[in-house]
């Protein structure tokens, strides 16, 4: 009996596989929460990706219609639970825009400081978890070590580690603490005793001094890692026109080469906070990009986040300096029963994951008639389908991970 094939082409025809529907999630580790992707696959090739949402839907908008605006702040924490401070800020600014409240310099400085620190914490998770999606464990542990100290510092400010409710309409709930014990994580890293009493801003300054040189280590671990480049560069191409049409915002939009950041291009009430600060807005394409990388691919989206961490560190440093001389109080009096005018307003702010919008309709009572939270990840996730079709199954986590979605914000 001969084992030789008469015509190899027949075999090629024979091994063609059937189409198969595969469920990825909602408990899949690389879908960043409870996202279910329905994949139509032919062998290893994915032809169609349909995201199914709603597993974390908590009717946050309906709840908002029955609460006074400061009472809704804790619910915004639970939307993007990795950047609670930034969500508080967006909602508070929307209320202040509706009521026409102007804040003292000190309150605004605290807000910039806290929001940018929140951005660093959020991007550290986004970046670490992206490494994890691609099979590299160390960056995740390293990023969490750094983030831990930020959470310790936030805990000293408001008592909470994730669900802060710190920035509220009218300013913030507390001033920055005058004297704290050095956070244990930071004490261990810098070789000091945890009983050392320092001011909060001093502890933060020490942490930033420690963090800044570490960014280079992440570049060695991920950005310039050949395996990482092979998994990300040139994959998941999002053209600028498509990004605009799908309403993508934040690092996803800037990774496609659209120079747009609300901290510079947003509404006056928001950009006013950032007046006098020097910062750059990282936009693809980058000089540091490997030759394989193309503007709008996974690698660029990842690198935008890395560069934003550097910019945010700079902003926090400037805010620390400003805070030392800032005048006024850390908040304006804001009563729970403050009546909202019979008008409406919509405000978007630049959150770590994109532009988070709050739409409030007032009817003369203290509860908004309609409270709407427009999620940035909701729009960013919508491009998964068009981006992923035609790629290998193993590339799907790389593409979804590069969008850095948080399901709590999408489902609300």
């Amino acid at each position: 009996m001969t084992t030789e094939l008469q015509d190899p082409r027949i075999v090629e025809y024979d091994v063609r596989t059937d189409e198969m529907l595969v469920n990825m999630g909602p408990q899949h580790p690389s879908t960043h929460g409870v996202l279910r992707l329905l994949l139509r696959t032919d062998g290893e090739i994915v032809h169609e990706v349909t995201p199914h949402l709603g597993y974390l839907h908590r009717c946050a908008e309906k709840i908002g219609e029955n609460l006074a605006t400061p009472q809704w702040i804790p619910y915004t924490d639970r939307m993007d639970y990795l950047a609670g401070m930034n969500m508080n800020l967006g909602m508070s600014l929307a209320v202040e825009k509706l009521l026409g409240i102007e804040l003292p310099e000190k309150a605004q400085t605290i807000r910039v400081l806290i929001a940018e620190l929140g951005r660093v914490a959020s991007h550290l998770v986004g970046m670490g978890a992206y490494g994890l999606d691609l099979g590299s464990f160390s960056p995740f542990l390293w990023a969490f070590r750094e983030r831990e100290i930020i959470l310790d510092l936030f805990e000293e400010v408001c008592g909470a580690r994730l669900t802060y409710s710190y920035i509220t309409p009218g300013g913030a709930t507390h001033d920055l603490p005058k004297s704290i014990n050095l956070p244990p994580g930071l004490a261990a890293l810098t070789g000091q005793s945890p009983d050392t009493a320092v001011s909060w801003t001093n502890a933060l300054g020490q942490f930033l001094d420690w963090l800044e040189p570490r960014i280079e280590e992440y570049h060695t671990l991920l950005t310039r890692n050949q395996i990482f480049i092979k998994r990300t560069a040139g994959l998941g191409l999002l053209s600028p026109d498509m990004a605009k049409s799908y309403g993508c915002t934040g690092p996803v939009l800037r990774g496609s080469g659209v120079d747009w950041d609300l901290r510079r291009d947003g509404e006056e009430i928001y950009t006013k906070m950032y007046e006098g600060y020097e910062f750059e807005i990282p936009v693809a394409p980058f000089d540091a990009a490997p030759p394989e990388a193309v503007c709008g691919d996974n690698w660029c989206r990842f690198f935008v986040r890395m560069m934003e961490v550097v910019q945010s560190i700079g902003l926090v440093r400037q805010a620390i300096e400003k805070y030392a001389t800032a005048e006024g109080a850390y908040r304006e009096a804001f009563k729970l029963a403050t009546k909202l005018p019979a008008d409406e307003c919509y405000l978007e702010t630049e959150c770590p994951r994109g532009q988070m919008g709050f739409y409030l309709v007032g009817d003369g009572s203290s509860e908004p008639f309609r409270a709407r939270a427009k999620s940035s990840c909701f729009c960013n996730l919508a491009v998964t389908g068009p981006l992923s079709s035609g790629f290998l199954l193993a590339d799907i986590p790389a593409i979804v991970g590069s969008l850095d979605v948080v399901m709590g914000e999408i489902d609300r």
């Binding site: 799908y246 309403g247 919509y346 739409y359 009572s365 919508a382």
Partner: protein
């Protein structure tokens, strides 16, 4: 950068007073009301006109204007209706505008028959999921939408939760409600 009154003027000039049926240019966020029949053409014009170039649909949502609370109803200024609100901005010109489409709460006054509005998915792809959400939560049928299914609630959910007269179900697949 074009101001809201100028945007309104150019829309009226292009489409006439029948299509551009109302406005409030004094509001915190100035808005222009567009009749349901012309929303797609107006959207295309807003996106493509070189002086406007609204290439970013920030948000699309529905609002149910019905005040069920009799105490608040005395001071409530709106007659019962449903609104679709489009928040637009331009990457090029950095200006913003709000567009509204007013619909009856129920089509032909038959309770349970949700009103219809033409879909703008063909103009901004972002509208796809936003319109699905508005259909799901507020109950607006977007005609010629490619895939108008519920997005946040389960597909066999009854009613539209953000309607002001929505009643919470007592039971769902054996799970007791309140």
């Amino acid at each position: 950068m074009t101001s809201a009154p100028d945007i309104h003027e150019s829309l009226v000039e292009q489409f006439g007073r029948d299509a551009i049926s109302g406005n409030n240019l004094e509001a915190i966020d100035p808005w222009i009301e567009v009749s349901p029949g012309s929303i797609v053409e107006v959207s295309e014009f807003l996106r493509d006109d070189p002086a406007l170039l609204f290439d970013h649909l920030n948000d699309l949502c529905g609002v149910d204007y019905l005040q069920p609370d009799p105490k608040k109803a005395k001071t409530f200024e709106h007659s019962p209706h449903v609104e679709v609100v489009y928040h637009l901005s331009s990457f090029t010109h950095k200006h913003r505008i709000t567009i509204k489409v007013l619909l009856p709460r129920w089509a032909d006054d038959i309770e349970g028959d949700i009103p219809a509005c033409p879909s703008v998915v063909g103009v901004w792809a972002a509208a796809n999921w936003h319109e699905r959400e508005a259909y799901d939560l507020v109950g607006i049928r977007f005609t010629s939408h490619p895939n108008l299914r519920r997005i946040l609630c389960p597909e066999d959910w009854e009613g539209h939760p953000l309607r002001k007269d929505y009643e919470f179900p007592l039971e769902y697949h054996g799970i007791r409600g309140q």
